[in-house]
Symmetry: C2
Subunit: 225 residues, 2 copies
Amino acid sequence: MRAQPKGVVEQDHCATPDIATQEQLLNAAGELMIERGVPDVSLSDIAAKSGLNSALVRYYFGNKAGLMVALLRKVLHPAMLQLEHLSEMKLPPQDKLRIHISGIVNVYFRHPYVNRLMHQLLSDDAATFGSLIAEEFSKPVADAQKQILQEGIDAGIFRPVDPLLFYFHIVGACDQFFYGRYQLKHVFGLDSISEDLKRRFVDHLYKVVIGGISRRTERGDGAND
Amino acid sequence: MRAQPKGVVEQDHCATPDIATQEQLLNAAGELMIERGVPDVSLSDIAAKSGLNSALVRYYFGNKAGLMVALLRKVLHPAMLQLEHLSEMKLPPQDKLRIHISGIVNVYFRHPYVNRLMHQLLSDDAATFGSLIAEEFSKPVADAQKQILQEGIDAGIFRPVDPLLFYFHIVGACDQFFYGRYQLKHVFGLDSISEDLKRRFVDHLYKVVIGGISRRTERGDGAND
Protein backbone atom coordinates (compact mmCIF):
# COMPACT_ATOMS: atom_id res chain seq x y z
CA MET A 1 0.00 0.00 0.00
CA ARG A 2 3.03 2.30 0.23
CA ALA A 3 4.30 1.77 -3.32
CA GLN A 4 5.94 4.64 -5.19
CA PRO A 5 3.31 5.54 -7.76
CA LYS A 6 5.64 8.08 -9.43
CA GLY A 7 7.64 5.17 -10.84
CA VAL A 8 4.51 3.61 -12.29
CA VAL A 9 3.46 6.82 -14.01
CA GLU A 10 6.85 7.49 -15.53
CA GLN A 11 6.60 4.32 -17.56
CA ASP A 12 3.92 6.01 -19.66
CA HIS A 13 5.26 8.10 -22.55
CA CYS A 14 2.08 9.08 -24.39
CA ALA A 15 1.59 12.72 -25.44
CA THR A 16 -1.07 13.40 -22.75
CA PRO A 17 -0.74 10.43 -20.46
CA ASP A 18 -2.08 12.15 -17.35
CA ILE A 19 -5.48 13.19 -18.67
CA ALA A 20 -6.05 9.96 -20.60
CA THR A 21 -5.12 7.85 -17.57
CA GLN A 22 -7.24 9.90 -15.22
CA GLU A 23 -10.20 9.62 -17.61
CA GLN A 24 -9.67 5.87 -17.80
CA LEU A 25 -9.75 5.54 -14.00
CA LEU A 26 -12.78 7.80 -13.60
CA ASN A 27 -14.70 6.03 -16.36
CA ALA A 28 -13.91 2.66 -14.77
CA ALA A 29 -15.15 3.90 -11.37
CA GLY A 30 -18.39 5.24 -12.88
CA GLU A 31 -19.03 2.05 -14.84
CA LEU A 32 -18.53 -0.07 -11.72
CA MET A 33 -20.99 2.07 -9.75
CA ILE A 34 -23.59 1.59 -12.50
CA GLU A 35 -22.98 -2.18 -12.72
CA ARG A 36 -23.12 -2.74 -8.96
CA GLY A 37 -25.87 -0.29 -8.11
CA VAL A 38 -23.88 1.07 -5.15
CA PRO A 39 -21.28 3.87 -5.15
CA ASP A 40 -18.92 2.05 -2.79
CA VAL A 41 -16.26 0.49 -5.04
CA SER A 42 -12.71 -0.39 -3.98
CA LEU A 43 -9.45 0.87 -5.46
CA SER A 44 -8.49 -2.66 -6.51
CA ASP A 45 -11.84 -3.08 -8.32
CA ILE A 46 -11.28 0.21 -10.15
CA ALA A 47 -7.75 -0.92 -11.02
CA ALA A 48 -9.00 -4.27 -12.35
CA LYS A 49 -11.80 -2.63 -14.37
CA SER A 50 -9.49 -0.01 -15.91
CA GLY A 51 -6.57 -2.37 -16.47
CA LEU A 52 -4.35 0.06 -14.56
CA ASN A 53 -2.46 -0.15 -11.27
CA SER A 54 -4.38 0.96 -8.16
CA ALA A 55 -1.30 2.98 -7.15
CA LEU A 56 -2.23 5.34 -9.99
CA VAL A 57 -5.39 6.31 -8.11
CA ARG A 58 -3.23 7.44 -5.20
CA TYR A 59 -0.86 9.23 -7.55
CA TYR A 60 -3.56 11.21 -9.35
CA PHE A 61 -6.32 11.55 -6.76
CA GLY A 62 -4.66 10.99 -3.36
CA ASN A 63 -7.19 8.36 -2.28
CA LYS A 64 -10.57 6.89 -3.15
CA ALA A 65 -12.42 9.95 -1.85
CA GLY A 66 -10.28 12.15 -4.10
CA LEU A 67 -11.21 10.01 -7.09
CA MET A 68 -14.89 10.20 -6.15
CA VAL A 69 -14.80 13.99 -5.97
CA ALA A 70 -12.98 14.10 -9.33
CA LEU A 71 -15.65 11.81 -10.80
CA LEU A 72 -18.45 14.09 -9.55
CA ARG A 73 -16.67 17.16 -10.98
CA LYS A 74 -16.16 15.44 -14.35
CA VAL A 75 -19.71 14.19 -14.85
CA LEU A 76 -21.50 17.21 -13.34
CA HIS A 77 -19.42 19.93 -15.02
CA PRO A 78 -21.57 20.23 -18.19
CA ALA A 79 -24.79 20.34 -16.13
CA MET A 80 -23.41 23.02 -13.80
CA LEU A 81 -22.46 25.16 -16.82
CA GLN A 82 -25.94 24.69 -18.31
CA LEU A 83 -27.44 25.74 -14.97
CA GLU A 84 -25.42 28.99 -15.01
CA HIS A 85 -26.59 29.79 -18.53
CA LEU A 86 -30.19 28.97 -17.65
CA SER A 87 -30.22 31.51 -14.83
CA GLU A 88 -29.09 34.26 -17.23
CA MET A 89 -31.47 33.37 -20.08
CA LYS A 90 -34.52 35.48 -20.90
CA LEU A 91 -37.18 32.77 -20.87
CA PRO A 92 -40.57 32.36 -19.17
CA PRO A 93 -40.11 30.65 -15.76
CA GLN A 94 -42.16 27.60 -16.80
CA ASP A 95 -39.77 27.03 -19.75
CA LYS A 96 -36.78 27.39 -17.43
CA LEU A 97 -38.36 24.82 -15.11
CA ARG A 98 -38.82 22.33 -17.95
CA ILE A 99 -35.21 22.79 -19.11
CA HIS A 100 -34.00 22.41 -15.52
CA ILE A 101 -35.95 19.19 -14.90
CA SER A 102 -34.79 17.82 -18.24
CA GLY A 103 -31.19 18.71 -17.33
CA ILE A 104 -31.33 16.88 -13.97
CA VAL A 105 -32.96 13.84 -15.58
CA ASN A 106 -30.28 13.69 -18.27
CA VAL A 107 -27.53 13.71 -15.64
CA TYR A 108 -29.14 10.83 -13.73
CA PHE A 109 -29.88 8.95 -16.95
CA ARG A 110 -26.17 8.86 -17.84
CA HIS A 111 -24.74 8.85 -14.30
CA PRO A 112 -27.39 7.34 -12.02
CA TYR A 113 -24.95 7.07 -9.10
CA VAL A 114 -24.21 10.79 -8.56
CA ASN A 115 -26.66 11.40 -5.73
CA ARG A 116 -25.65 8.26 -3.82
CA LEU A 117 -21.99 9.02 -4.44
CA MET A 118 -22.39 12.43 -2.80
CA HIS A 119 -24.23 10.74 0.04
CA GLN A 120 -21.46 8.16 0.43
CA LEU A 121 -18.79 10.88 0.64
CA LEU A 122 -20.87 12.78 3.18
CA SER A 123 -21.44 9.66 5.28
CA ASP A 124 -17.73 8.83 5.19
CA ASP A 125 -16.51 12.30 6.14
CA ALA A 126 -19.08 15.08 6.45
CA ALA A 127 -16.51 17.50 7.93
CA THR A 128 -14.35 17.33 4.80
CA PHE A 129 -16.96 16.95 2.08
CA GLY A 130 -20.03 18.66 3.52
CA SER A 131 -19.28 22.19 2.35
CA LEU A 132 -17.43 21.05 -0.80
CA ILE A 133 -20.46 19.13 -2.12
CA ALA A 134 -22.89 21.81 -0.97
CA GLU A 135 -20.96 24.69 -2.57
CA GLU A 136 -19.95 22.98 -5.81
CA PHE A 137 -22.99 20.84 -6.63
CA SER A 138 -26.05 21.20 -4.42
CA LYS A 139 -26.32 24.94 -3.72
CA PRO A 140 -26.09 25.93 -7.41
CA VAL A 141 -29.07 23.61 -8.09
CA ALA A 142 -31.02 24.89 -5.07
CA ASP A 143 -30.23 28.52 -5.97
CA ALA A 144 -31.28 28.07 -9.60
CA GLN A 145 -34.57 26.50 -8.50
CA LYS A 146 -35.15 29.30 -6.00
CA GLN A 147 -34.58 31.89 -8.74
CA ILE A 148 -36.94 30.15 -11.19
CA LEU A 149 -39.64 29.88 -8.51
CA GLN A 150 -39.22 33.58 -7.63
CA GLU A 151 -39.41 34.62 -11.30
CA GLY A 152 -42.65 32.66 -11.58
CA ILE A 153 -44.07 34.27 -8.45
CA ASP A 154 -43.04 37.75 -9.65
CA ALA A 155 -44.72 37.08 -13.00
CA GLY A 156 -47.92 36.05 -11.20
CA ILE A 157 -47.72 32.53 -12.67
CA PHE A 158 -46.55 30.47 -9.66
CA ARG A 159 -47.93 30.38 -6.13
CA PRO A 160 -45.36 30.69 -3.31
CA VAL A 161 -43.48 27.41 -2.87
CA ASP A 162 -40.81 26.63 -0.24
CA PRO A 163 -37.55 26.18 -2.23
CA LEU A 164 -36.22 23.69 0.35
CA LEU A 165 -39.22 21.36 -0.04
CA PHE A 166 -39.13 21.85 -3.81
CA TYR A 167 -35.42 20.91 -3.97
CA PHE A 168 -35.83 17.55 -2.22
CA HIS A 169 -39.02 16.83 -4.17
CA ILE A 170 -37.37 17.26 -7.60
CA VAL A 171 -33.95 15.78 -6.85
CA GLY A 172 -35.48 12.83 -5.00
CA ALA A 173 -37.95 11.95 -7.75
CA CYS A 174 -35.17 11.95 -10.40
CA ASP A 175 -32.68 10.05 -8.25
CA GLN A 176 -35.15 7.32 -7.34
CA PHE A 177 -36.28 6.74 -10.90
CA PHE A 178 -32.81 6.21 -12.31
CA TYR A 179 -31.18 4.57 -9.33
CA GLY A 180 -34.05 2.25 -8.46
CA ARG A 181 -33.35 -0.20 -11.29
CA TYR A 182 -34.00 -3.25 -9.13
CA GLN A 183 -37.43 -1.92 -8.23
CA LEU A 184 -38.01 -1.11 -11.88
CA LYS A 185 -37.25 -4.73 -12.72
CA HIS A 186 -38.96 -6.58 -9.88
CA VAL A 187 -42.00 -4.33 -9.38
CA PHE A 188 -42.64 -3.23 -12.97
CA GLY A 189 -40.85 -5.90 -15.03
CA LEU A 190 -38.58 -3.48 -16.92
CA ASP A 191 -34.88 -4.19 -17.35
CA SER A 192 -33.75 -0.68 -18.17
CA ILE A 193 -34.87 2.88 -18.83
CA SER A 194 -35.19 3.64 -22.55
CA GLU A 195 -34.87 7.08 -24.12
CA ASP A 196 -38.64 7.06 -24.53
CA LEU A 197 -39.29 6.23 -20.86
CA LYS A 198 -36.79 8.90 -19.81
CA ARG A 199 -38.66 11.46 -21.96
CA ARG A 200 -41.98 10.38 -20.45
CA PHE A 201 -40.55 10.81 -16.95
CA VAL A 202 -39.49 14.40 -17.78
CA ASP A 203 -42.99 15.07 -19.17
CA HIS A 204 -44.65 13.52 -16.10
CA LEU A 205 -42.57 15.41 -13.54
CA TYR A 206 -42.80 18.73 -15.38
CA LYS A 207 -46.54 18.44 -15.95
CA VAL A 208 -47.33 17.49 -12.35
CA VAL A 209 -45.05 20.15 -10.90
CA ILE A 210 -46.11 23.00 -13.21
CA GLY A 211 -49.75 22.08 -12.64
CA GLY A 212 -49.17 21.87 -8.91
CA ILE A 213 -47.38 25.19 -8.43
CA SER A 214 -49.31 27.34 -10.91
CA ARG A 215 -51.64 29.93 -9.41
CA ARG A 216 -54.68 28.70 -11.28
CA THR A 217 -54.22 25.28 -9.68
CA GLU A 218 -54.12 26.72 -6.18
CA ARG A 219 -57.44 28.45 -6.71
CA GLY A 220 -58.98 25.37 -8.28
CA ASP A 221 -57.78 23.08 -5.52
CA GLY A 222 -58.78 25.31 -2.62
CA ALA A 223 -61.88 23.25 -1.87
CA ASN A 224 -59.80 20.21 -1.04
CA ASP A 225 -57.64 21.79 1.68
CA MET B 1 -17.46 -17.05 13.68
CA ARG B 2 -18.61 -20.63 14.19
CA ALA B 3 -19.72 -20.24 17.81
CA GLN B 4 -22.72 -22.18 19.11
CA PRO B 5 -25.32 -19.48 19.54
CA LYS B 6 -27.77 -21.91 21.17
CA GLY B 7 -25.56 -21.91 24.25
CA VAL B 8 -25.61 -18.14 24.41
CA VAL B 9 -29.38 -17.96 24.16
CA GLU B 10 -30.00 -20.56 26.82
CA GLN B 11 -28.40 -18.33 29.42
CA ASP B 12 -31.42 -16.05 29.17
CA HIS B 13 -34.35 -17.07 31.38
CA CYS B 14 -36.79 -14.19 30.88
CA ALA B 15 -40.45 -14.96 30.13
CA THR B 16 -40.18 -13.91 26.45
CA PRO B 17 -36.47 -13.76 25.86
CA ASP B 18 -36.61 -14.40 22.11
CA ILE B 19 -38.83 -11.51 21.15
CA ALA B 20 -37.16 -9.04 23.52
CA THR B 21 -33.69 -10.00 22.28
CA GLN B 22 -34.71 -9.85 18.64
CA GLU B 23 -36.26 -6.42 19.19
CA GLN B 24 -33.07 -5.27 20.90
CA LEU B 25 -30.95 -6.37 17.93
CA LEU B 26 -33.32 -4.88 15.35
CA ASN B 27 -33.57 -1.58 17.23
CA ALA B 28 -29.77 -1.41 17.49
CA ALA B 29 -29.42 -2.04 13.73
CA GLY B 30 -31.98 0.66 12.89
CA GLU B 31 -30.39 3.19 15.24
CA LEU B 32 -26.95 2.57 13.71
CA MET B 33 -28.32 3.10 10.21
CA ILE B 34 -29.82 6.43 11.29
CA GLU B 35 -26.61 7.53 13.06
CA ARG B 36 -24.32 6.62 10.17
CA GLY B 37 -26.58 7.65 7.31
CA VAL B 38 -25.86 4.38 5.43
CA PRO B 39 -27.65 1.03 5.77
CA ASP B 40 -24.46 -1.02 5.65
CA VAL B 41 -23.67 -1.85 9.29
CA SER B 42 -21.65 -4.83 10.49
CA LEU B 43 -22.75 -7.61 12.85
CA SER B 44 -20.07 -6.59 15.36
CA ASP B 45 -21.32 -2.98 15.31
CA ILE B 46 -24.88 -4.19 15.91
CA ALA B 47 -23.61 -6.40 18.75
CA ALA B 48 -21.70 -3.52 20.35
CA LYS B 49 -24.67 -1.14 20.02
CA SER B 50 -27.15 -3.65 21.48
CA GLY B 51 -24.81 -4.93 24.20
CA LEU B 52 -25.45 -8.48 22.91
CA ASN B 53 -23.26 -11.12 21.29
CA SER B 54 -23.10 -11.01 17.48
CA ALA B 55 -23.64 -14.81 17.49
CA LEU B 56 -27.24 -14.00 18.49
CA VAL B 57 -27.79 -12.39 15.11
CA ARG B 58 -26.86 -15.66 13.46
CA TYR B 59 -29.03 -17.59 15.88
CA TYR B 60 -32.16 -15.51 15.33
CA PHE B 61 -31.75 -14.22 11.78
CA GLY B 62 -29.26 -16.54 10.06
CA ASN B 63 -27.04 -13.70 8.84
CA LYS B 64 -26.94 -9.95 8.38
CA ALA B 65 -29.27 -10.07 5.38
CA GLY B 66 -31.78 -12.01 7.49
CA LEU B 67 -31.64 -9.33 10.16
CA MET B 68 -32.13 -6.62 7.52
CA VAL B 69 -35.22 -8.33 6.12
CA ALA B 70 -36.57 -8.75 9.67
CA LEU B 71 -35.93 -5.05 10.33
CA LEU B 72 -37.84 -4.07 7.17
CA ARG B 73 -40.75 -6.34 8.15
CA LYS B 74 -40.84 -4.91 11.68
CA VAL B 75 -40.79 -1.21 10.76
CA LEU B 76 -42.99 -1.47 7.65
CA HIS B 77 -45.66 -3.78 9.09
CA PRO B 78 -47.93 -1.00 10.47
CA ALA B 79 -47.70 0.96 7.21
CA MET B 80 -48.53 -2.11 5.10
CA LEU B 81 -51.61 -2.76 7.26
CA GLN B 82 -52.69 0.88 6.90
CA LEU B 83 -52.27 0.56 3.13
CA GLU B 84 -54.60 -2.45 3.05
CA HIS B 85 -57.25 -0.61 5.02
CA LEU B 86 -56.89 2.48 2.84
CA SER B 87 -57.67 0.49 -0.31
CA GLU B 88 -60.90 -0.77 1.23
CA MET B 89 -62.07 2.57 2.64
CA LYS B 90 -64.91 4.55 1.07
CA LEU B 91 -63.18 7.89 0.69
CA PRO B 92 -62.72 10.34 -2.20
CA PRO B 93 -59.51 9.51 -4.14
CA GLN B 94 -57.87 12.84 -3.27
CA ASP B 95 -58.34 12.09 0.47
CA LYS B 96 -56.85 8.61 -0.04
CA LEU B 97 -53.89 10.22 -1.80
CA ARG B 98 -53.27 12.60 1.10
CA ILE B 99 -53.46 9.75 3.63
CA HIS B 100 -51.11 7.66 1.49
CA ILE B 101 -48.50 10.45 1.13
CA SER B 102 -48.75 11.17 4.84
CA GLY B 103 -48.27 7.45 5.57
CA ILE B 104 -45.11 7.18 3.44
CA VAL B 105 -43.70 10.36 4.97
CA ASN B 106 -44.31 9.06 8.49
CA VAL B 107 -42.44 5.84 7.72
CA TYR B 108 -39.41 7.75 6.39
CA PHE B 109 -39.57 10.24 9.25
CA ARG B 110 -39.13 7.44 11.79
CA HIS B 111 -37.08 5.03 9.68
CA PRO B 112 -35.26 7.13 7.06
CA TYR B 113 -33.09 4.19 6.01
CA VAL B 114 -35.80 1.83 4.68
CA ASN B 115 -35.46 2.67 1.00
CA ARG B 116 -31.64 2.46 1.04
CA LEU B 117 -31.81 -0.72 3.07
CA MET B 118 -33.97 -2.35 0.39
CA HIS B 119 -31.54 -1.09 -2.21
CA GLN B 120 -28.57 -2.49 -0.28
CA LEU B 121 -30.21 -5.94 -0.07
CA LEU B 122 -31.00 -5.84 -3.78
CA SER B 123 -27.47 -4.78 -4.66
CA ASP B 124 -26.00 -7.54 -2.49
CA ASP B 125 -28.21 -10.33 -3.85
CA ALA B 126 -30.96 -9.41 -6.30
CA ALA B 127 -31.73 -13.06 -7.06
CA THR B 128 -32.66 -13.76 -3.42
CA PHE B 129 -34.23 -10.47 -2.40
CA GLY B 130 -35.64 -9.07 -5.64
CA SER B 131 -39.02 -10.75 -5.56
CA LEU B 132 -39.22 -10.78 -1.72
CA ILE B 133 -38.88 -7.00 -1.50
CA ALA B 134 -41.11 -6.43 -4.53
CA GLU B 135 -43.91 -8.71 -3.27
CA GLU B 136 -43.84 -7.73 0.41
CA PHE B 137 -43.08 -4.02 0.29
CA SER B 138 -42.94 -2.32 -3.11
CA LYS B 139 -45.81 -3.88 -5.08
CA PRO B 140 -48.41 -3.22 -2.34
CA VAL B 141 -47.44 0.48 -2.47
CA ALA B 142 -47.45 0.57 -6.28
CA ASP B 143 -50.79 -1.29 -6.40
CA ALA B 144 -52.42 1.02 -3.86
CA GLN B 145 -51.26 4.07 -5.82
CA LYS B 146 -52.53 2.55 -9.06
CA GLN B 147 -55.92 1.94 -7.47
CA ILE B 148 -56.16 5.49 -6.07
CA LEU B 149 -55.20 6.96 -9.45
CA GLN B 150 -57.80 4.79 -11.21
CA GLU B 151 -60.51 5.76 -8.71
CA GLY B 152 -59.68 9.42 -9.41
CA ILE B 153 -59.83 8.87 -13.17
CA ASP B 154 -63.14 6.98 -12.89
CA ALA B 155 -64.58 9.82 -10.80
CA GLY B 156 -63.51 12.33 -13.46
CA ILE B 157 -61.21 14.09 -10.99
CA PHE B 158 -57.74 12.96 -12.12
CA ARG B 159 -56.24 12.95 -15.59
CA PRO B 160 -54.56 9.67 -16.72
CA VAL B 161 -51.16 9.31 -15.02
CA ASP B 162 -48.65 6.48 -15.55
CA PRO B 163 -48.53 4.59 -12.20
CA LEU B 164 -44.88 3.61 -12.77
CA LEU B 165 -43.75 7.23 -13.13
CA PHE B 166 -46.00 8.23 -10.22
CA TYR B 167 -44.49 5.55 -7.96
CA PHE B 168 -40.89 6.68 -8.42
CA HIS B 169 -41.92 10.34 -8.17
CA ILE B 170 -43.61 9.94 -4.77
CA VAL B 171 -41.26 7.41 -3.18
CA GLY B 172 -38.18 9.28 -4.41
CA ALA B 173 -39.31 12.67 -3.11
CA CYS B 174 -40.03 11.23 0.37
CA ASP B 175 -36.84 9.17 0.52
CA GLN B 176 -34.60 12.08 -0.50
CA PHE B 177 -36.12 14.49 2.01
CA PHE B 178 -35.61 12.27 5.03
CA TYR B 179 -32.41 10.55 4.00
CA GLY B 180 -30.63 13.65 2.70
CA ARG B 181 -29.81 15.01 6.15
CA TYR B 182 -26.30 16.10 5.13
CA GLN B 183 -27.73 18.13 2.27
CA LEU B 184 -30.34 19.54 4.64
CA LYS B 185 -27.53 20.68 6.91
CA HIS B 186 -24.94 21.90 4.43
CA VAL B 187 -27.24 23.38 1.78
CA PHE B 188 -30.07 24.69 3.95
CA GLY B 189 -28.46 24.97 7.39
CA LEU B 190 -30.93 22.71 9.19
CA ASP B 191 -29.73 20.02 11.61
CA SER B 192 -32.88 17.90 11.62
CA ILE B 193 -36.44 17.60 10.38
CA SER B 194 -38.96 18.83 12.94
CA GLU B 195 -42.58 17.66 13.20
CA ASP B 196 -43.57 21.00 11.68
CA LEU B 197 -41.20 20.64 8.70
CA LYS B 198 -42.43 17.08 8.17
CA ARG B 199 -46.03 18.33 8.10
CA ARG B 200 -45.09 21.07 5.63
CA PHE B 201 -43.43 18.48 3.38
CA VAL B 202 -46.63 16.39 3.33
CA ASP B 203 -48.64 19.54 2.50
CA HIS B 204 -46.18 20.54 -0.24
CA LEU B 205 -46.06 17.14 -1.91
CA TYR B 206 -49.83 16.58 -1.68
CA LYS B 207 -50.68 20.04 -2.96
CA VAL B 208 -48.26 19.88 -5.92
CA VAL B 209 -49.31 16.35 -6.86
CA ILE B 210 -53.07 16.85 -6.50
CA GLY B 211 -52.81 20.12 -8.44
CA GLY B 212 -50.67 18.45 -11.07
CA ILE B 213 -52.86 15.42 -11.72
CA SER B 214 -56.31 16.97 -11.42
CA ARG B 215 -58.26 17.36 -14.66
CA ARG B 216 -58.81 21.07 -14.27
CA THR B 217 -55.03 21.57 -14.15
CA GLU B 218 -54.50 19.69 -17.37
CA ARG B 219 -56.90 21.98 -19.22
CA GLY B 220 -55.37 25.07 -17.65
CA ASP B 221 -51.82 24.03 -18.46
CA GLY B 222 -52.47 22.87 -22.02
CA ALA B 223 -51.03 26.05 -23.50
CA ASN B 224 -47.59 25.27 -22.11
CA ASP B 225 -47.15 21.87 -23.75
